[in-house]
Symmetry: C2
């Protein structure tokens, strides 16, 4: 019972040709001709191995291998097939191919599964396409948290809203129809490239995830007054002074909350950004990460920010605005996404048996698995990613490394799909 490197390579190389930017990485935007071509290829491959293929109202493709007990909850495996502009061939796609190859091996070896198994190939995972907060769209549609409002909110680079783009593509956006009863799902497993340097740097084959930190994103803007450097200190409205106060107050707040949360101001832009002038305007990004669910019961982050802002406005005479840049319909910040512990242990054992090295990596960007983790036992398998590069034409994972991840998925699913 083995996965086939040739088939894996063929899948990835074929899917990489469905791009609107040949020679400049993979550009397979949601609701494009290229995404349609990739979907058609995946459906055809699923049909070849006898899967029952269907597509939902949001262009998520499911390929079902019926279980001995058709009424038992389903094991779902897969990822997404859309990409950013000038992205790589692995982000998302690798996880879809992993699921496809897993069920090919099942079919080839007549492996019996008590629980039904479904490949899931999702669209619209990349938040870049329709802007901040718009990502992991199809998994949100599946669990039922995507909203009508969101479909009309932001536009893609062609000036179309999500609803408009979907209609043009031939879909009728029906939120109700796309919802799935998650109580009838046994588990979700997603393989993904690491999008970080850890596995490669430490020469480790497999990354396993215990939890992914929750996230909250904010932009804070400071509106001061333009003056030259001889202006009296008394009457200044210095946007950078106000921003500095916010940065330090945030730091203090988060430090006081203790271990389960971090807060980072990683970006600051000042205008006019000249040594000769009092900054008229400053904006900073605030990124909150949560590792402990309970920390969010102790504090309302946005309310705390508002208190800090009120104090700063009084002290500096600078007007401060705060804007949440979170996933729509979700609390900001979100709680951490906790993966299924038992399955992490199972995967570790499988790695040992297969003689693969593994490590825990509790780091990652947004994934559909973060969405499902709230509803069903969820796990991720990371494979090495050259120099941690992703969302770029240089994104690369050696096919042999990817195959190891798929072997782990195969053995995990083989174990989970048995009765008892």
């Amino acid at each position: 019972m083995h996965t086939s490197l040739d088939r894996i390579i063929n899948d990835l190389e074929t899917l990489a040709t469905y791009t609107s930017t040949p020679g400049e990485g993979v550009t397979r935007s949601s609701y494009s001709k290229e995404d349609q071509m990739a979907k058609d290829y995946l459906k055809k491959e699923m049909e070849k191995i006898g899967l029952d293929v269907h597509e939902d109202a949001f262009s998520t493709v499911f390929g079902r291998r019926e279980g001995k007990n058709p009424n038992a909850p389903t094991i779902i495996i897969g990822s997404h097939y859309d990409s950013v502009v000038n992205g790589g061939r692995f982000d998302g796609t690798a996880g879809v191919v992993a699921a496809l190859e897993t069920l090919r091996v099942f079919e080839e070896n007549n492996i019996e599964n008590y629980y039904p198994i479904e490949i899931i190939a999702m669209n619209a995972e990349e938040g870049e396409t329709f802007g901040p907060g718009s990502g992991v769209s199809n998994s949100r549609a599946m669990v039922g948290t995507l909203t009508e409002k969101e479909l009309d909110l932001a536009k893609n680079r062609f000036g179309e809203t999500k609803r408009e783009a979907m209609k043009k593509y031939g879909l009728v956006p029906d939120l109700e129809a796309a919802k799935r009863d998650m109580s009838k799902v046994k588990s979700f497993i997603e393989l993904h490239i690491e999008q970080g340097p850890n596995l490669e740097a430490q020469n480790i084959d497999i990354g396993l995830v215990e939890f992914l930190a929750g996230i909250g994103r904010y932009m804070v803007k400071f509106h001061g007054k333009f003056e030259d450097s001889t202006a009296s200190m008394d009457t200044r409205q210095d946007a950078l002074i106000a921003a500095s106060k916010f940065i330090l107050a945030l730091n203090q707040l988060i430090n006081e909350l203790g271990e389960g949360i971090t807060g980072t101001v990683g970006m600051i832009n000042v205008s006019p950004n000249s040594n000769q002038y009092v900054p008229e305007f400053a904006e900073i990004s605030v990124e909150i990460r949560t590792m402990d669910k309970t920390v969010l019961d102790k504090v309302n982050i946005l309310e705390e920010f508002k208190k800090i802002i009120e104090m700063i406005e009084a002290e500096t005479n600078v007007k401060v605005e705060i804007e949440e840049r979170a996933r729509i319909g979700y609390p900001n910040p979100t709680p951490p996404s906790v993966m299924d512990k038992e399955t992490v242990k199972l995967m570790e054992d499988i790695c040992d048996e297969l003689n693969y090295s593994s490590m825990i990596i509790n780091k990652g960007t947004g994934h559909d698995a973060m969405i499902t983790a709230e509803y069903v036992p969820t796990n991720m398998i990371y494979v090495p990613s050259k120099e941690g590069i992703s969302h770029h034409p240089d994104e690369w994972t050696d096919y042999e490394d990817l195959q190891k991840g798929i072997e782990v998925m195969l053995h995990t699913v083989k174990k989970l799909c048995q009765k008892g």
Copy 2:
């Protein structure tokens, strides 16, 4: 007795043709072919009105109209004839033309002068050419504060040191020969475009200067540690936290020093400047302006900065570097350059007589007048500058506005050059 608008226009338009970037503003870099052409034109014009012309070791041109008392101290009038890259036709040049036109009127009207009068046309005023701290070079050579070291320090955009560029241009840089006995100078008057928006915005003809704030410039660099936004708060070395602490500590220090000084952080650059990462590096500009000489007796700014830095390094584990970007051989910050009060009053009266509106503008960038103000009674006349733009091809002053400034210079010099 009147200045001639035609001659003024002709001077400026002719000098504007001596540029290495025709059609893209005036580029008349120090020690270039274009600066030689401008200098030759000025010498010729000076000779036409019978001035005794000579050039010093740093290519400053003097045109002397002898006084009834040749041993009486000299009134010097003028400015500089070099420009930045893609600058305008007025910055510096307007002041040289003002001096030239003043002595033309003297000659035309046989005005007697007890005190000798000299036009000064300086080179190497623009600090851009050889980098920060290298400006107002010829006035510094004249008063004797330019150093040998500086000639070999920084390079122009052609990779030449000041000494190399001067030699190529045919000069023998002789600091001793360029020094002038400032006790034999009665006063220095410089006309300059405002390089600020005040006169135009308030529709006022003439700006008079009581003092120009002294200046101190520093770059502060913060070296932290690159980590992602999930990194524990405890062990971070956040360059932006350290920079914020510096910004607020500086603000407090300067506020405590009271009225005679300001401190501004106008520029901040952070790396990698991404919402997802703890800033690894930050750099900020610090600009100190002094309006009161005595404030610098109370405090050693650099020592205070070092105390702040020591505290921040201990608190944040971020390494902090500070670099002075001041004029070489000068204290950093410099004390304010105080102009001659009596002459400001005289100029105000002249404006009234001529029916010109005037205002005091104690703002300005670096000028040769700042250097001479420490040694001899010095004054400046500002003329309006469209939208305050300078150092740019769009720099513009209406010729009629410039003529008013030259009339004020003419009447001032006429008054000052009489005995008693």
